[in-house]
């Protein structure tokens, strides 16, 4: 195979050389930072994804060296390949920013604003997108579309009301599992992710649809309502798994493993594992291994400090030496109150992490 020619492309006045056939989005991600357009449906690890949500629209102000005319409309950067000498404007174009705010408004038309209840809050791409690119108000005055909650198998909860129809989960099920059992039913406003006649999803890798979902439409039932994402501590861990790479992120509170997910990169996509393949994890690792003893913990995950998840994570903290007992001739200070004796929260007889379902009132009123 001959060497692919390198094309020069300028995105937001930053020039980069990328091989021919790269999309504008991938080129922008190579530059990184704010230049990379946000994506809701495109997922680099899934073949055929992208082109649906329109959040990655960019302006092409110069088509190529040979044909320098600008493209007449904004183009979806995840589906447009670069040309030699192409000039792209993303955040430097007011047209793009305006269009993106409009796209966010469209995505939020039917999206319920139930972030206080939603388990995805804090790591939700739509939340970030609307915060960074959206407007404060919506002009929509009608009833939002409402669906009933559906259980996809006993571990995955589908909230169709929150879905933005990015099709990522459909591609995941198609490409990771042997027989796909769910997809999109109906069309247009009625389109919904569904299993045909409430069929259970049995495949070993189906749990990955939770990780690829950019919103809270597909959530982990074993973690449902247990804790907010930002109160749990993410740590990298691994175990020997014969089905998957076994490299995961544990979301812990104290010594309890509340949730297991695949590791994510800076674009919110599943990272590559150390073996080089995409680090999808199997259902056994995700749903059944909820004890610290199941895992070998590598250390705390690196979390972007602008993320709410990093709250209360005091990185590089140096605690001063405790001098009190030294001053008091080796006697420890008298504890005036042990909060664990008084507080009703985090009682030892209620192990939330070991429940395979959300906690109910009868779990607390034992």
């Amino acid at each position: 195979m001959s060497e692919q020619p390198l094309f020069k492309v300028t995105i937001d006045n930053i020039t980069i050389e990328v091989p021919a056939g790269t999309t504008i989005l991938e080129a922008a991600r190579k530059i990184g930072g704010e230049v990379a357009p946000p994506t809701m449906c495109y997922y680099s690890k899934l073949k055929g994804s992208g082109g649906k949500c329109r959040t990655c629209l960019v302006e092409v102000s110069k088509g190529s060296e040979k044909d320098p005319r600008p493209m007449p409309k904004l183009v979806a950067s995840c589906r447009t390949t670069i040309m030699d000498g192409m000039e792209v404007k993303n955040i430097t174009s007011p047209k793009v920013l305006d269009a993106r705010a409009g796209v966010v408004e469209f995505l939020l038309l039917n999206h319920p604003l139930d972030c206080p209840i939603c388990d995805q809050a804090g790591e939700c791409h739509l939340q970030d997108l609307s915060y960074e690119h959206g407007k404060e108000k919506t002009r929509y005055e009608f009833q939002k579309r409402i669906f009933h909650k559906v259980d996809l198998g006993d571990k995955i909860q589908l909230h169709m009301t929150r879905c933005i129809l990015c099709y990522r989960c459909v591609f995941t099920a198609d490409q990771l599992t042997t027989n796909r059992e769910h997809g999109i039913l109906d069309r247009g406003d009625h389109a919904q992710i569904a299993t045909f006649i409430q069929k259970n999803l049995q495949s070993d890798f189906i749990g990955n649809v939770i990780d690829v979902c950019p919103v809270g439409a597909l959530t982990d039932k074993t973690f449902r309502f247990k804790n907010r994402v930002w109160f749990t501590k993410p740590v990298d861990a691994h175990r020997d798994c014969d089905k998957c790479c076994g490299e995961v992120q544990l979301w812990m509170r104290g010594d309890e493993v509340y949730r297991v997910t695949a590791r994510k990169d800076e674009w919110g996509e599943v990272k590559e594992s150390s073996k080089g393949s995409t680090g999808w994890i199997c259902n056994e690792c995700r749903f059944d291994k909820k004890k610290v003893s199941d895992w070998i913990i590598e250390g705390p995950s690196n979390i972007n400090r602008h993320s709410v998840i990093s709250q209360g994570h005091y990185v590089g903290l140096k605690k001063p030496n405790e001098t009190l007992s030294k001053v008091m001739q080796g006697r420890d200070p008298k504890l005036l109150m042990n909060i664990h004796e008084v507080s009703e929260v985090n009682k030892e007889n209620i192990q939330l992490s070991l429940l395979e379902r959300p906690a109910h009132s009868n779990d607390f009123n034992q």
């Binding site: 309502f225 907010r228 009703e344 929260v345 906690a359 009132s361």
Partner: protein, 177 residues
């Protein structure tokens, strides 16, 4: 040294005369100030009998709100706890079971909700953060207590009386007689 203001007075260290040394004039000057206060309005408030009105923005003891049907508004979203600079708030959430719709407004609710009043600095950020109008800082103080364990307030201590079933208690708590 140069003075910062021109109001500084030089200390007069001269020997006092006899008239000055019996302080008669100075005592008289002082008594004028004293007697003037007899005819002024008294600023003291006789506390237990008389009570000062709270300012409308006073930030006192927290209450957990209910809606007009008596359902708890809190959905345990954790925004108050993440906003709390003193890390005084903790909670545990649970899913509403069928049949509990009259108790909780949303499908998720706080099964446990605790505010450690020893840590709380009454800044009111929890009230600002709450998206569900569930937590408010009321116009009362946290009552004094003899031991520390009495300052960890659970849901029973914070919830307002149910407007449906405990209307008289609610009116009393609001100060409407």
């Amino acid at each position: 040294m140069q003075a910062l203001t021109n109001r500084a007075k030089e200390v007069d260290r001269r020997q006092m005369t006899f008239l000055e040394s019996i302080y008669l004039w100075n005592i008289f000057k002082g008594m004028i100030v004293t007697f003037k206060h007899l005819f002024k309005k008294r600023p003291t408030i006789q506390y237990p009998e008389q009570q000062r009105t709270f300012s409308p923005v006073f930030r006192g003891l927290h209450v957990l709100n209910r809606d007009e049907e008596g359902r708890e508004r809190c959905t345990a979203c954790g925004l108050c706890a993440v906003a709390c600079p003193a890390e005084a708030i903790t909670m545990e959430a649970a899913e509403r079971l069928p049949g509990e719709e009259n108790l909780y407004r949303e499908e998720k609710y706080a099964a446990r909700y605790e505010i450690n009043m020893l840590r709380c600095i009454f800044c009111g950020l929890c009230e600002e953060a709450c998206p569900k109008d569930a937590i408010y800082l009321s116009e009362t103080f946290a009552p004094a207590n003899y031991n520390r364990r009495g300052f960890v307030y659970g849901k029973q201590d914070l919830l307002i009386p149910n407007p449906k079933t405990e209307a008289p208690e609610l009116a009393k708590a609001k100060g409407i007689h």
